[in-house]
Amino acid sequence: MIAIKISFKLNGKWVEADVEPYKRALDFLRDDMGMTSVKEGCSEGECGACTIIVNGRNVHSCLMLAVELDGKDVWTLEGIIESGETYISEAYADVGAVQCGFCTPGFIVSTKVLLDENPNPKEEDIKKALEGNICRCTGYARIIEAVKEAARRKRGDAS
């Protein structure tokens, strides 16, 4: 099958790649780009473990083809951390919102999208922003706490 050339911005840097037209963005990012923070949990857009940011929006990379990334601005947790934006991850770690850790990258990516848009979210905003991510360990209470704590840190409030 003929590969298709795509060119997109991954974690702030332009990259070019030849991808098979049937390849999912999830597999391309994990296998070809080495972005293993992007996890496969359900393959059907239900669990949110594979969440990435495309042009400022959080999307399920299992429901997207790699060719659809062409021309887009794409971020994974690796890039967020590398760019120095570690405060959300640290808030998750500090309040006890991490247990097995498999869903965690997806939650943090969704949290970033929320806080970039709304640095002062109410509990209802948090639930709305994270309803596409499933966690089976924590019961979510501390995840909500982590988002509130991250928001405080982003705003520079004393925590």
């Binding site: 991850s89 850790g101 498999f102």
Partner: protein, 750 residues
């Protein structure tokens, strides 16, 4: 204490929250192949022919294994009643009973080739429910569908009923629960012609070690199993990873190439274990002032096509059948029943949630009939030191049962809450609220039925820079085992938690430590590590004394020598240069338990945890939807070593128990094919569904636990389903005796 009982950050949190933690599927090896599994898609039948020739020709396919290629095709933990791959002429006993496995250059190629395997099945009538199975026509497996029985015969059951003023007889039913760990089953196997290495997501590396060696007929010292970061287990990665690992290992053995087998969610639902559906009948006698006089129960567990862990699961159903109460006359039968569905096995609680739900519902009905408050009837029958459990185990220490009841009553402001609920219900026509109690017991570790596995090893190595490496046989799957180990080492050796690294378990480094199940890791691995760390501490103290230091102590986790605080890094460097032994192994096992399996009486477990939960629910009478609004919970888990972790376990357990109680349901079609195989129709709780959870611990120390700790992994779930069912019954005034309490169920009952 420096760190024990203090609020600390998990030692693996940053690695996970930065996306750096490596799970099995994140690993890759040169020349690695990808595997796929061929399923018959028929629930019951005889495999008449199997032809892989066409599939072998498919592009990218490297090898296909059938029963002919398996060195030892018999498997099973308790009884060898299953095959690695179903042989021609053999029986297919559920739709995802594997018949062939394929290794190919890519995952897509392997999956595509599954449809090219040709086979014929002579179909048989599938047995799909416990009631159908009891007719023994047809037989699913072995000689009879009711293949296992366990019992308790204690006291005089008839006399107990004669002395009762109220006798209740009730029937209960519970459904499946899928673990829904976020990371599906994943294994990579590497056979190099002499040695086999397995990397995988698992709770029990030593099970995988034994099972793979047995199937491939390899000596154990040629097989190494390394647990990778594991994305949740909840029991679903107890025995199941063995079944995944033997497939990957067989393909690696045949191809001499690394083989990765990662399940997709659909396979994971169809092939891997679940919580047992159950049916039970309870007959319980009470005096008019609420004292339980007799408990008689018959419990049937649907174990699916193969027995796997069921005979051990049944031991827990048996020993927990009377919940957390002091009862003298007990007569319990638990049966394991074959059906043509997915084999059921370990799931957080291991056969106890089914019976705790039943018994706790009986307690509420009794309270109602006797005009007592549901809290009061529980308090009246609660266990305390000197009283005996259902199996007649007289408790000598660490019984915080009544304290958990007192704590929940207090933190919930119960009397005021009742009044609020009454007012809410007066003011609302289509929404009703209810309150429900549950008071439960949980036996710590494997108990009398699992004594050969109940010992653990651990090693502590202090490096010359003062950092510490810890090796245990217990696994971290999210529950926080690594952090608890680090806290124990930190406290004993006076080293910063941040300088302690806990390695992934490796069966070639650590001696068989039994499984990471049964809420046993804090007590077993924790004690092994405690022993090792104490030995190193003593070696250092002996050395310091030999060179003239007179007064040495570790105060609140800091070294003080002759009044001066010394950093651990300095001590380690000096001790290392003086050839002090800075590496030790700890070994922990508990005294043998006396238990009579004929009567089901005696010392069932080394210790017990006790739990109380009060749930506030709201039911929408128009939609039938049940919402858990708020829960107040107390557990006696002995000394709480890691409060943040413990609270997190309880919050997660309450919500997972809520899923079991109200939304999670596995459905099959009339041919035994599963209909619910992903999160679109198997509904696990989301962030939208959660209650406010209030947690406060009762800390009744256990003398044999490290720093007095018991365990929490499983009990955190068990109080939730019965308290929710009792709350719904309270809200609606109708009997809820079946789980899950779905909207359909509520509307039908209304």
């Amino acid at each position: 204490m420096r760190v024990i009982g203090k609020r600390v950050r998990r030692i693996d949190a940053i690695e996970k929250a930065f996306g750096k933690a490596k799970f099995t599927n994140d690993l890759s090896f040169p020349r690695m192949l990808h595997a796929a599994v061929v399923y018959p898609g028929v629930a019951h039948g005889v495999l008449r022919s199997l032809d892989v020739s066409e599939a072998l020709k498919a592009p990218g396919v490297v090898a296909i294994a059938t029963y002919k290629n398996v060195p030892n095709n018999e498997m099973g933990i308790v009884t060898k009643d299953m095959h690695v791959l179903v042989p021609v002429g053999g029986k297919i006993r559920f739709e995802a009973d594997p018949i062939a496995i394929i290794a190919a250059e890519t995952r897509e190629a392997a999956e595509e080739a599954t449809s090219l395997v040709n086979f014929d099945v002579e179909e048989l009538q599938p047995v799909l429910t416990i009631d159908e199975a009891l007719r023994d026509d047809p037989i699913v497996n072995g000689e009879r569908n009711v293949a296992f029985q366990r019992k308790i015969r204690r006291g005089d059951i008839e006399k107990g009923f004669q002395e009762s003023d109220l006798i209740l007889e009730m029937d209960f039913e519970t459904g499946y629960q899928e673990h829904a760990y976020l990371e599906p089953q994943s294994i990579i196997a590497l056979w190099d012609g002499d040695n086999l290495t397995i990397y995988g997501s698992m709770q029990c590396p030593f099970y995988v070690h034994n099972d793979v060696a047995e199937v491939l007929k390899l000596p154990l010292n040629r097989v190494t199993v390394i647990q990778m970061e594991t994305g949740g287990g909840f029991g679903g990665k107890e025995d199941v990873p063995s079944y995944i690992a033997v497939k990957a290992a067989l393909l690696s053995y045949l191809t001499k190439r690394p083989v990765k087998l990662v399940y997709n969610r659909d396979m994971d639902f169809r092939e891997t274990s679940k919580r047992h559906p159950s049916k039970s009948h309870y007959k319980v006698g009470f005096t008019k002032d609420g004292k339980i006089k007799a408990v008689k129960a018959a419990v049937y567990l649907d174990m699916g096509a193969y027995s796997t862990l069921t005979p051990i699961v049944m031991y827990r159903s048996l020993t927990h059948a009377a919940s957390a109460y002091d009862v003298e006359n007990i007569f319990v039968d638990v049966y394991g029943v074959y059906t043509n569905k997915v084999p059921t096995g370990a799931f957080r609680g291991f056969g106890s949630p089914q019976v705790l739900f039943a018994m706790e519902r009986v307690m509420d009905e009794a309270a109602k009939r006797l005009g007592m408050d549901p809290w009061e009837i529980r308090y009246k029958n609660a266990l305390e030191i000197g009283k005996a459990t259902a199996t007649g185990h007289v408790l000598e220490e660490s019984v915080g049962a009544k304290e958990t009841l007192e704590i929940v009553r207090e933190i919930s402001d119960y009397e005021r809450l009742k009044e609020e609920v009454r007012k809410f219900n007066e003011g609302n026509k289509y929404k009703k609220r209810g309150l429900g109690w549950a008071h439960t017991i949980y036996g710590v570790s494997l108990g009398a039925a699992g004594q050969p596995l109940d010992a653990s090893s651990g090693e502590v190595h202090v490096k010359m820079d003062g950092t510490v490496l810890v090796m245990i046989g217990g696994t971290e799957m999210g529950q926080g085992a690594k952090t608890v180990m680090a806290l124990i080492v930190s406290e004993i050796l006076g080293v910063d938690v941040d300088n302690v690294r806990v390695m992934q378990p490796n069966t070639s480094i650590v001696q068989d430590s039994g499984p990471t199940v049964a809420s046993r890791t804090t007590v077993f691995s924790g004690n092994a590590i405690r022993i090792a760390a104490e030995r190193i501490r003593d070696n250092i103290i002996e050395y310091l004394k030999s060179k003239g230091v007179e007064d040495i102590k570790i105060e609140n986790g800091y070294w003080i020598a002759d009044g001066k605080e010394i950093p651990f890094s300095e001590i380690a460097r000096e001790a290392n240069a003086a050839n002090v032994k800075l590496a030790e192994m700890g070994w922990f096992s508990t005294p043998k338990l006396n238990f009579d399996f004929e009567t089901g009486t005696g010392e069932a477990y080394v210790s017990y945890t006790f739990s109380t939960q009060l749930s506030l629910v709201e039911v929408d009478l128009l939609t039938g939807k049940v919402e858990l609004k708020e829960a107040w919970v107390s557990h006696d888990i002995g000394k709480v070593l890691n409060p943040v972790g413990a609270e997190g376990q309880v919050e997660g357990g309450v919500v997972q128990g809520m899923g079991y109680a109200i939304s999670e349901e596995i459905k099959h079609d009339e041919n035994g094919r599963m209909l619910t195989t992903n999160f679109n129709n198997y509904i696990v709780p989301t962030i939208r569904d959660i209650p406010r959870v209030h947690v406060k611990f009762a800390e009744s120390p256990f003398s044999k636990g490290p720093f007095g700790a018991k365990g929490l992994g499983e009990p955190s779930l068990m109080s939730s389903p019965p308290s929710i069912a009792n709350a719904v019954t309270d809200a609606l005034g109708i009997l809820i005796n079946r789980l899950p309490i779905t909207p359909e169920e509520v509307l039908l009952k209304l």
